[in-house]
């Protein structure tokens, strides 16, 4: 039996075999033994679920405990310092994150929503190149983030764009990384708007773009917003690609877009984490707390947004 390559027939065969086994088992049932097995199985399932939840929850708890001593205002106002780690902070890193993420948002909203609108409303599905574009987007969603770092290094820092190791390069690199997320979410949101709305609009003599701009996009807005928030949350937490586009880990001056060094929060945390002194461990954990609080807030907001505006058409 080849479950994977069997196709629909193979799956049906499997399911039928399973059903047959279930019937035989039920009729030949050894009542008490089966009940015991069933209970043991449920226990196993619950154990797995507990591991899944507590495993990651313990991370949150550990970070909170470890980093709590350093949670003071200095965390935000002080820049990094090797000499006096007790007072070092994340100021330049946080500012860097703000700049970089600002650039990311400026890029992914028009590009992502634009691509989604094109694919859902303007593209002819039967044309091969449109299917090719869709396949591309699905592939990009699975490419490791460090490969985007390579892309950024070769094309944006050097190569055609030659921006150098600057914040704008980081914005572009991260934007390309999370763009598939925005496109996927926006497409779902646009698709969820009933076609009867578009039909009604076009029947009045509106053009396709007028229909999209005035009916479809406003109706799809909550879903699109959710996608953007989730993408931004992902971008905030990324460090690997930024290591390659010059997120220098020791920046003492405030960043700017197109010149000078910059750093971001996760990269700075990484830098502190690699140092042996325990002071830096605590500092790193404190940074993790800050980052987790922000991300938790964003993700929860996005999920709340999605649930609240999930319209019953």
């Amino acid at each position: 039996m080849s479950p994977v390559s069997g196709g629909p027939a193979g799956r049906t065969r499997l399911a039928t075999a399973g059903a047959r086994a279930a019937t035989v088992g039920a009729l030949a049932g050894n009542g008490r033994r089966d009940r015991f097995a069933g209970a043991a199985f449920l226990a196993l399932l619950l154990l797995a679920l507990t591991v899944a939840l507590t495993g990651l929850a313990s991370l949150l708890i550990w970070a909170a405990i470890e980093g709590a001593p350093r949670l003071n205002i200095g965390l935000f106002t002080e820049g990094p310092s090797s000499l006096s780690p007790e007072t070092a902070g994340y100021r330049t890193a946080i500012l860097g994150t703000v700049y970089v993420i600002g650039g990311v948002i400026a890029l992914i909203v028009p590009l992502g929503v634009g691509a989604a609108v094109y694919l859902e409303q303007f593209a002819d599905r039967s044309r091969w190149w449109n299917r090719f574009i869709e396949l591309n987007i699905q592939n990009l969603a699975g490419v490791p983030s460090i490969v985007f770092g390579i892309l950024g290094l070769a094309f944006i820092v050097r190569g055609p764009f030659s921006l150098g190791f600057v914040a704008a390069a980081a914005s572009m690199t991260l934007a390309l990384l999370v763009l598939p997320t925005v496109i996927l979410a926006s497409r779902e949101a646009i698709r969820a708007v009933p076609p009867s709305i578009s039909e009604g609009s076009m029947a009045l003599g509106a053009t396709r773009w007028q229909t999209v701009r005035r009916q479809v996009l406003p109706a799809a807005l909550p879903g699109i917003l959710t996608g953007v928030i989730l993408a931004v949350a992902r971008a905030i937490g990324e460090a690997a690609p930024l290591l390659m586009v010059g997120a220098v880990t020791f920046v003492t001056v405030d960043p700017s877009f197109f010149e000078g060094g910059y750093s971001t929060l996760p990269v700075q945390i990484y830098n502190y984490a690699t140092r042996p002194q325990e002071v830096f461990q605590v500092l790193a954990a404190a940074g993790v707390i800050v980052m987790l609080v922000v991300l938790l807030a964003m993700n929860s907001f996005a999920i709340w947004l999605r649930n609240r505006y999930e319209r019953e058409w």
Partner: protein
């Protein structure tokens, strides 16, 4: 008007009073010659030839699957929105070829409006629903147009105090009249209606039928309906379509069988198939 009892009609169908102007020489709004539609190579309807007249209500009736809605959608180029749809034959609107090379479908739809089977108001306020058309078309005096349209759809009295309410809070019948008002607001020449009452209760249906008879004075109306009595009640002329099978019974498409003054279709049809349908012998 004679009772068609001698012909074995199952029930007496009330027909609109034949007016003196039901002639065949009036102004034509649509002229169809051998019109057909295929969807990605599959024929949906074929060989329809008829003249629809201005300021009249023309009904398209027939069993389900006979292509009435498909035919209706040809008249305002809504089939263009379906990939793979192709229209054959000649279709003229006030003498102009509707599918000519320079014709802009968007322009066509400004002149020929449509009301759909399931009411589809926009997720906006009542006012914004009706105002959408004029705004998008760049017309002025939007407020006056909205009011006029709502009056024309016999809805003004019910909603004048709550124009900012969301349209989704209305009942089905009201929503459909809202859709009619929405279509009226852009001042079309023709209004197409695709089974406008099939999702509504009898009282709302009655209101909309009365509305249609009022609207006929200013607009030409073509309506698709599977409710024969409705066609008999409101329309001036009726076209009857059937489903036709090809020789091997593999493909099927719609074809028009008879097109005539409504009274004649329902009391004295020329074709046996028409009579079978209107007397309820076949579904």
């Amino acid at each position: 008007m004679e009772d068609g009892g001698g012909r074995g009609l199952a029930q007496r169908i009330e027909v609109a009073e034949p007016g003196a102007d039901v002639s065949w020489t009036g102004e034509k709004v649509f002229e169809l010659r051998d019109v057909g539609v295929t969807y990605s190579g599959t024929q949906a309807v074929k060989g329809v030839s008829a003249d629809f007249f201005s300021k009249e209500i023309t009904a398209l009736i027939g069993p389900s699957g006979c292509g009435k809605s498909t035919l209706l959608r040809c008249l305002n180029r809504m089939n263009d929105l379906i990939p793979g749809a192709e229209v054959e034959g000649e279709l003229r609107y006030h003498g102009e070829d509707l599918y000519g090379p320079k014709v802009d479908p968007v322009q066509v739809r400004k002149l020929i409006g449509m009301v759909f089977q399931k009411p589809n108001p926009f997720p906006k306020s009542i006012f914004d629903n009706v105002a959408f058309g004029p705004r998008v078309l760049g017309l002025d005096n939007v407020e006056d147009r909205v009011r006029t349209a709502l009056e024309g759809a016999a809805l003004w009295g019910e909603v004048s105090r709550r124009l900012d309410d969301n349209a989704y809070g209305m009942s089905g019948g009201q929503q459909q009249r809202l859709c009619i008002a929405r279509a009226l607001a852009v001042n079309p020449d023709v209004i197409l209606m695709d089974e406008p009452c099939s999702a509504l209760d009898p009282i709302s249906t009655g209101k909309i039928e009365d509305l249609m008879l009022d609207l006929k004075e200013d607009y030409s109306i073509v309506i698709v309906t599977h409710n024969m009595q409705q066609a008999a009640r409101v329309s001036d002329r009726t076209a009857f379509l059937i489903v036709e099978l090809d020789a091997d019974e593999e493909n099927r498409w719609g074809r028009m069988v008879e097109y005539d003054v409504t009274e004649k279709i329902f009391t004295n049809p020329s074709d046996q198939r028409t009579e079978d349908y209107v007397t309820g012998k076949v579904g």
